[in-house]
């Protein structure tokens, strides 16, 4: 058996192209039958003019890398991609892209789902939204804690 392909985990300060990232990821795993991805983007409509994600460099990326190791240990994956923006984003711009490549579909779905639940509830990001010209900080959502409790 070949050595496992390392996970690709990046914290990005500027915008990225999720379609091209997914293309490269799928091409890098031609032996995987399935690739599951989650793309999170800034919602257009609803009055949010901009979104800012603040991170803390000594914690944020290391925690994302630790999450990737957890996911790899828990499911049998050929590859794992975790891309996350920081900084200011505009509506329709991508925030997060998670992709899992696996021989078996079920592993890929569960891994991507788990990674997203943990990114959403536990990762070191502080979020604020600009509405009607005013920035306001976003509190944690109860739903996020419920999502993560599914895995415990």
């Amino acid at each position: 058996m070949d050595a496992p392909v390392p996970s690709d985990v990046r914290l990005l300060a500027s915008s990225f192209d999720p379609a091209e990232e997914l293309r490269a990821f799928a091409q890098a795993h031609p032996g995987s039958g399935g690739v599951v991805s989650f793309l999170g983007q800034v919602r257009e409509g609803g009055g949010v003019e901009a979104l800012e994600l603040q991170h803390y460099a000594p914690l944020t990326l290391p925690a994302m890398e630790a999450l990737a190791r957890q996911v790899r240990a828990r499911w049998n994956l050929d590859g794992l991609l975790i891309l996350h923006r920081s900084g200011v984003m505009l509506p329709a711009q991508p925030i997060v892209l998670v992709a899992a490549a696996a021989r078996h579909r079920r592993d890929a779905f569960a891994a991507a789902d788990y990674a997203m639940d943990h990114l959403k509830s536990e990762s070191w990001f502080w979020k604020r939204e600009k509405v009607a010209g005013e920035w306001r900080w976003i509190e944690p959502r109860e739903q996020d804690f419920e999502d993560i409790a599914r895995w415990q």
Partner: protein
């Protein structure tokens, strides 16, 4: 030359502190209570209360600590005040 202690405020604490970071130049070990006193000199009671709340966690030099009241900052340390994360 002595390195300052650096304070970093995340999320809404940045607004209360009036900026993302600041230094404490005074040399020597700085226990939690003295740190609170320094904050009280510089900032509103709202900030002093906020950093003491259970849900605000503390990292020293990139490591989240379990009991903030037991910490003693050394020169050159970076302490970060981490309000509840809002997630990715």
């Amino acid at each position: 030359m002595t390195l300052p202690k650096r304070l970093v405020f995340l999320g809404r604490l940045e607004d209360l502190a009036g900026g993302p970071s600041q230094d404490i130049a005074k040399a020597g070990p700085l226990p939690w209570n003295d740190l609170l006193a320094t904050l009280a000199e510089r900032h509103s009671q709202a900030l002093v209360d906020a950093v003491q709340a259970d849900k605000v966690r503390i990292a020293v030099n990139g490591v989240v600590i379990a009991d903030k009241t037991a910490l003693v900052l050394a020169d050159g340390d970076e302490i970060a005040f981490l309000p509840p994360v809002s997630g990715g």
